[in-house]
Amino acid sequence: MSNSASFFTDFQATDLLFLGEAAGRTLGISLVSISIGTALGIFFGWSLQASKWFAQATIGTVLDAFRSVPLIIQLILFYNFFPIIGWKMGPFAAGAFVLSIYTAALVANVVRGGIEAVGEPMRRAARSLGMSYWQDLRYVVWPIGLRAVFPSWVGVALSVIKDSALVSVLGYMELLRASQILITRTQEPFIILACAGAFYFALSYPLSKYSQKLEESWTS
């Protein structure tokens, strides 16, 4: 039924499709990790800023570890650690888990910086108008802090897209893993890595372009 032999000769198109699918997985695991990591990171960053001593001793220490240990070591350690404690996790789940915490560790620092950028006098002014603590956070600290650290957050997101390549060591069929397989079969590393690079670029460029637009609209 499927005529794989004839497709094999016309390998460029199908291989691109194969890479495209893998790029979709890279995008998927990146989106999941960036979303969860950012949500957690906002909470952690706020905790670190709001209760300096306690949160620093607990969350801060854990996040420091995640920030300091190479991602590839974290991935292998956790992937092998989960089955020991009886959690069945595939490469995607384990990869997304580690990438999310890693993202959260980076975002937490960005968020803390954002809150600190707003400054105590501004927050007192908001409170003096009768705003509650949460209203001050939502309507004053959030929009002002966001504008201050948005470029840093974009930097984190872009690096997570690229770092997701490391999930290939768990056997997850994302862009880099797919490229390696194609290289083994075709012995054309230059063309295939160039294609993979182009896919990474295609994933990252819209984000950095969109963020630029957003920043421009804020400064006007």
Binding site: R124, L129, G130, R147
Partner: protein, 240 residues
């Protein structure tokens, strides 16, 4: 009426307010003068609960400010405050700056909040700057914006913490004029200030603070022409 009774405030080991007793009645304009570090700004922060206190009591219309049971957010609506650094919200236009608190704190509708904001911006002479962002306004305009923002909550008292100290000299006048306007309209005001001319002309009473102690309080004629305390005499001799 604002009543301050035997108020003590420490920053760590530093005793910044050492037993202040002071009443400010409705409609009164009180100026507080004194050198830096005398505790006068801290007193303002204690009145609206932005600083806690270690001893004594502050009452606003009979409500204890530092009581855990007091709804401090509700109470602060009565107490407008203007800071040395104007702290305008940089991401909002002048109109949005002023409309924000009425909208979210008082739950006014968009239109209601907008019309209040418009009214107060016109009140302080910024009727032509409604859609300007703070970055496009001068320091004096931003400080008037801050005054409008406080007034939009329809406070019964206004606290001014060195409202003109951070301004370029040529911009001080427009802010003082706005403060004069409020005083003429009968607003109750406590003004921590270094503007001796303003405190002499506008205040009903002037208080002189020295190292955490209120050394002297009385009508401006008395404080400026016949100060009783040695410290007041020295201070006034130096600022003149």
């Amino acid at each position: 009426m604002i009543e301050i009774k035997q108020l003590h405030k420490y920053f760590g080991a530093l005793h910044v307010l050492q037993g202040i007793d002071l009443n400010v009645s409705k409609g009164e304009v009180l100026s507080i003068i004194g050198s830096s570090g005398s505790g006068k700004s801290t007193l303002l922060y204690c009145i609206n609960g932005l600083e806690d206190i270690q001893q004594g009591e502050v009452l606003v219309d009979g409500t204890t400010v530092h009581d855990q049971k007091t709804n401090i957010n509700k109470l602060r609506q009565k107490l407008g405050m203007v800071f040395q650094q104007w702290n305008s919200f940089p991401h909002l236009t002048a109109l949005e700056n002023v409309a924000l608190a009425p909208k979210i704190v008082k739950n006014f509708s968009r239109d209601q909040a907008k019309s209040i904001a418009e009214k107060q911006l016109k009140h302080v002479g910024l009727g032509d700057k409604l859609d300007a962002y703070p970055s496009a306004l001068s320091g004096g305009q931003q400080q008037r914006l801050a005054i409008a923002r406080a007034l939009a909550m329809e406070p019964e008292y206004m606290l001014f913490d060195e409202a003109t100290s951070a301004l370029d000299p040529e911009l001080v006048g427009e802010v003082l004029d706005t403060m004069r306007l409020l005083a003429d309209e009968g607003m109750t005001m406590i003004c921590v200030t270094h503007e001796m001319g303003f405190s002499r002309d506008v205040s009903d009473r002037v208080a002189y603070f020295h190292q955490g102690v209120m050394e002297e309080v009385g009508p401006p004629e008395q404080i400026f022409s016949a100060p009783q305390s040695v410290h007041t005499q020295k201070f006034l001799a130096n600022v003149r």
